[in-house]
């Protein structure tokens, strides 16, 4: 199989949507574990919907490995939806792993490969969950002593939910003779499977209505899931009223849609369902089950018709009896006993004469639970899921109401003839689009153009200033100045807007972390609570990408090394559950991201010893370093202090990505830690990274750019405030003494005397003065990355094109200050000392 047959755009849409849904799944699943009782149902439904949507779309595209795996996961989830007592950490593990498997499959597709089959072991686990022991218990509870349908509405609801599941398809009249081979036959790609549902005829509609079919098919499926949703709520006494109202509303929409397409039989059914929905609160408990199963049957019919719609065909079923029976129940009247007791959709369809008449009901049909049980015994033997499971189901169904319990809505919804036709797919079901998806590459090129435009504008401004100094008529220079200032303002706004288009909320990253922490806590047997604040804070897309690895490493480190085990915490008088806070907020022109934990804190001595051992610094140097600088060693390449290396962190690989990525963003890292109290790691990133304001300075023969954000102030150091400490140049600035870096020496520039100006720069709490020769002025610079090979060791973070068209290097202040610090504590090596 290959992906070649799939329309690339459709495939991309599918991948994008599914990835988003997977994120959603991940966070919902994690939240589910800790959610309050009342919230669980919502979360579960949300999880289920997400999975179901992925599967449905995959069926459209005919991506079988994905469908099969999603189906297994869905089955397991289905059980949980019915019976939440099954929630165990093991089940959650399996479900979360399933999300990973799906993600892997999607990744493969993203690479243009056919996705691999899901791992057999996990599928087995999922099946075990889906057929879990407690399920059997539930079924036996369902079975009343006298074998009659349960009088309890809750039970009715449960039965109903079974119905939203597999709806075996009966080929009218030959279900009983069907042989197992039918399964293989049905697996053949959609060769008129629709035909087998019912006699069909070409759909004759005016062209403007045919035009809408693609939208409507998607919309119909959506509305059907609305019906399913409402039906699951019908079970509860408390929610029955609302569920009825929701049912009525969705059915009303369905009625309008169906009648627009002149599908009058189904439209009438929808109308009957609407009416029943309105009457639901008044309907006797005993009748609810019979109603719900019939509404499920209606849903199933509509879904088949929706699929047939994409083939421009109208399915022709005898629907009168079904409609009448729904009306009867809605009117508060009783159905005949045997007819009322039918508890699965295929049986309803036959009993109500939709899929061929049955003279008498099979014995099992009036004992739904037994039928379900027998089906359950059969199910585990089933082969991998295929869209044709539904068809295969009939065969079992002929023997006696097949497996409502093993059912999955997807079998009815996603599979079927639509698979392989590949049209329509996730095409939007209408609605106003408030957002559009844009390829990142387009935004990149837009930003690039704006960057170049800023440069061109800068040059124009420079020309304007030069012209003003020339003997030209004043009105000319004034007009030019006015035009230039307009251009300046507009370019600025354009730049801001383009930047904004690239902004994305940090939630894109943050939403993954509860899962990460949850897994970590489980594998390390710790208790960890993760609080996330400010995840709506937006940052540039490039920042988001660069932050992904650092944050995950810091978080893992906090959870793995920072937070102690429950026993250790108890002994230390702390709460057993460790607490990690992940906070994002705007701070001026920066975004601040902090990871705070209340763990054991960083041990300076341990880090220092390790740093010396690894040869990262000499013992002398380390002993003079500030705590924070010692802590920074944890971000040094190859540095790991964990006594025991866990599989999650502590391999010494990774933490250095924190340093390198943050440097790429012109960001800063601050570390604060208190022994036994916890650690806070703070990352400060400029809001935008591609264009930034800088101070242009002349050093020797060249101009350099100093990022404005790092500049604290600029002074003209008189001789009186210059001095030397331990033979190294320093400057006095009010009450403090700062190292003064002779930039000419550092940059190997020619020149006489000492720099006339000192640009005081700061990173975190550290300050230094940079001696430069001339100040040129403030400019917006567009950062062009430098090839690492060219800048190896050099204190540059990039290059930019100046107003006059020449190239300037941008000074890397973080590195400059770091060099100063190490030099001022080491004795006498390095360029500054040589100067």
């Amino acid at each position: 199989m290959s992906l070649d047959g799939i329309n690339p755009e459709l495939r991309q849409d599918f991948l994008t949507e599914s990835s988003e849904l997977l994120e959603q799944l991940d966070s919902d699943l994690v939240a589910l574990e800790t959610a309050a009782e009342g919230e669980q149902a919502d979360r579960l439904n949300s999880v289920f919907r997400a999975l179901h949507t992925i599967k449905g779309a995959a069926s459209f595209l005919g991506i079988d490995p994905l469908i099969r795996f999603a189906h297994a996961a869905e089955d397991a989830l289905n059980l949980l939806r019915r019976d939440r007592t099954h929630f165990t950490a093991e089940v959650m593990d399996a479900l979360l792993q399933s999300v990973d498997v799906l993600r892997g499959q999607l990744d493969a597709m993203g690479q243009g490969e056919w996705p691999p089959e899901g791992p057999g072991a996990l599928i087995e686990t999922l099946k075990t969950i889906a057929n879990g022991q407690p399920l059997a218990a539930r079924l036996s509870k369902l079975q009343p002593a006298d074998g009659a349908p349960g009088p309890d509405c809750d039970d009715a609801g449960l039965t109903a939910e079974d119905g939203d599941a597999v709806v075996p398809v009966a080929v009218p009249g030959d279900g009983a003779q069907a042989e197992p081979e039918v399964e293989d036959e049905a697996q053949a790609p959609s060769n008129g499977v629709t035909e087998s549902y019912a006699p069909s005829e070409p759909l004759e509609l005016p062209p403007q209505k045919l035009d809408l079919i693609e939208f409507m098919v998607a919309d119909l499926h959506e509305q059907i899931s609305g019906i399913h949703q409402a039906l699951t709520e019908v079970a509860g006494h408390a929610t029955r009223h609302e569920a009825g109202a929701a049912l009525a509303e969705t059915a009303a929409d369905l009625h309008k849609t169906l009648s627009f397409f002149e599908l009058d039989g189904l439209a009438a059914l929808a109308e009957a369902v609407r009416n029943a929905g309105e009457k639901l609160p008044d309907i006797e408990c005993e009748q609810v089950a019979g109603l719900v199963i019939r509404i499920e049957a209606v849903s199933w019919l509509i879904e088949r018709q929706a699929e047939a719609l994409s083939e421009r065909r109208r399915l022709d079923w005898p629907l009168r009896t079904l409609q009448q029976r729904i009306e009867t129940i809605a009117a508060g009247e009783q159905l005949d006993g045997a007819v009322a007791g039918v508890a699965d959709v295929p049986m309803v369809l036959r009993v109500d004469g939709v899929l061929g008449e049955v003279a008498s009901l099979p014995a099992e049909a009036s004992q739904p639970s037994q039928a379900a049980q027998s089906a359950e015994a059969v199910e585990p033997e089933d082969g991998p899921y295929s869209p044709s499971d539904a068809v295969a189901g009939v065969i079992g169904g002929a023997g006696g109401g097949d497996a409502a319990s093993t059912a999955s809505p997807g079998a009815a919804g996603g599979g079927g003839p639509a698979a392989g036709t590949g049209n329509g797919g996730g095409a939007g079901g209408g609605g106003v689009e408030a957002t559009i998806r844009v390829e990142v590459a387009r935004l990149e090129s837009l930003l690039n153009l704006v960057g170049q435009m800023v440069l061109a504008k800068n040059q124009l401004m420079a020309i304007g200033r030069r012209v003003a100094e020339q003997p030209v008529p004043q009105d000319l220079t004034e007009t030019l100045a006015a035009a230039n200032s307009d251009l300046d303002r507009l370019t600025g706004e354009l730049q801001v807007n383009v930047m904004r288009a690239r902004m994305q909320p940090l939630s894109k990253l943050f939403d993954r972390y509860p899962r990460v922490i949850r897994d970590l806590a489980r594998s390390t047997e710790k208790k960890i609570r993760l609080d996330i604040e400010g995840k709506q804070t937006e940052v540039d897309k490039s920042v988001l990408e660069l932050l992904a690895d650092p944050l995950i490493h810091i978080l893992r480190n906090s959870a793995d090394h920072g937070i102690e085990g429950p026993a250790e915490r108890r002994d230390a008088g702390k709460a057993e559950a460790g607490h990690i806070r992940l906070v994002a907020e705007h701070q001026g022109s920066h975004v601040r991201i902090a990871i705070e934990d209340d763990g054991r804190g960083i041990n300076r001595e341990v880090i220092a010893a390790k740093a010396v051992e690894k040869g990262l610094a000499s013992a002398d140097v380390v002993s003079q370093m500030s705590d924070e600088d010692v802590y920074r060693f944890i971000f040094a390449p190859g540095f790991s202090t964990a006594a025991q290396v866990s599989d999650l962190s502590g391999r010494g690989v990774g933490m250095d990505v924190v340093n390198s990525n943050v440097a790429k963003m012109n960001g800063q890292i601050n570390i604060a830690s208190r022994q036994g109290k916890g650690t806070t790691i703070e990352i400060l990133i400029p809001l935008t990274v591609a264009i930034m304001p800088a101070m242009m300075v002349r050093i020797g023969a060249h101009m350099y750019a100093i990022p404005l954000q790092s500049i604290v102030e600029i002074v003209r150091p008189e001789d009186t405030i210059r001095g030397k400490v331990q033979g190294k140049p320093v400057m006095r600035l009010r009450d403090s003494v700062l190292p003064l870096v002779n930039m000419r020496a550092v940059l190997d520039e020619e020149g006489e005397g000492e720099g006339r100006f000192a640009v005081v720069v700061g990173v975190g709490g550290q300050r230094a003065g940079l001696a430069v020769d001339r100040l040129i002025g403030q400019q917006e610079v567009v950062i062009k990355p430098l090839d690492d090979a060219d800048t190896q060791g050099g204190p540059f973070s990039g290059a930019t094109i100046r107003e006059d068209g020449d190239v300037s290097l941008i000074l890397d202040i973080v590195q400059l200050i770091r060099t100063t610090q190490t030099e001022s504590s080491a004795s006498g090596t390095g360029p500054a000392a040589a100067a």
């Binding site: 005016p206 403007q208 209505k209 035009d211 939208f215 929409d253 309008k256 849609t257 209408g430 609605g431």
Partner: protein, 123 residues
């Protein structure tokens, strides 16, 4: 046969009116937007409504929702542009019976009207 024409553009109304007259519909009431239409629709009690989508004060979709919400049963043909076509799904759920894309020919509109009325008659 009474028709209510709802469109904010007088020109559009005149065009539609011309077509309707040609088709033999003479009892025509006009409304300039959804609000105007709401105030007229009950008294006029039309057999057919032609509703433009984009209008000030109250757009066609909101009007249809309100009209149907008040129990109005007369068939509605929505007049849309090609660009609004993807939204017709919404309109259908609001209770629109048919739609016609601007610009339309007299034949096109008359065909839509015939279709719509035929279906109503059949129901």
């Amino acid at each position: 046969m009474k028709v209510l024409l709802i469109d904010d553009s007088r020109t559009m109304r005149n065009i539609q009116k011309g077509i309707l007259t040609q088709l033999g519909y003479t009892e025509i009431e006009e409304a300039a937007d959804g609000l105007d239409a709401l105030s007229k629709v009950l008294a006029f009690n039309p057999d057919l409504l032609l509703v433009d989508w984009n209008m000030p004060n109250m757009d066609g979709l909101s009007f249809v929702k309100q009209y149907r919400g008040k129990g109005g049963k007369a068939p509605i043909i929505m007049v849309t542009t090609e660009a609004e076509k993807t939204r017709v799904v919404e309109a259908i759920k609001a209770g629109v019976n048919n739609y016609v894309v601007k610009p339309f020919t007299p034949e096109g509109l008359s065909e839509r009207i015939r279709e719509t009325l035929d279906r109503v008659a059949a129901a």
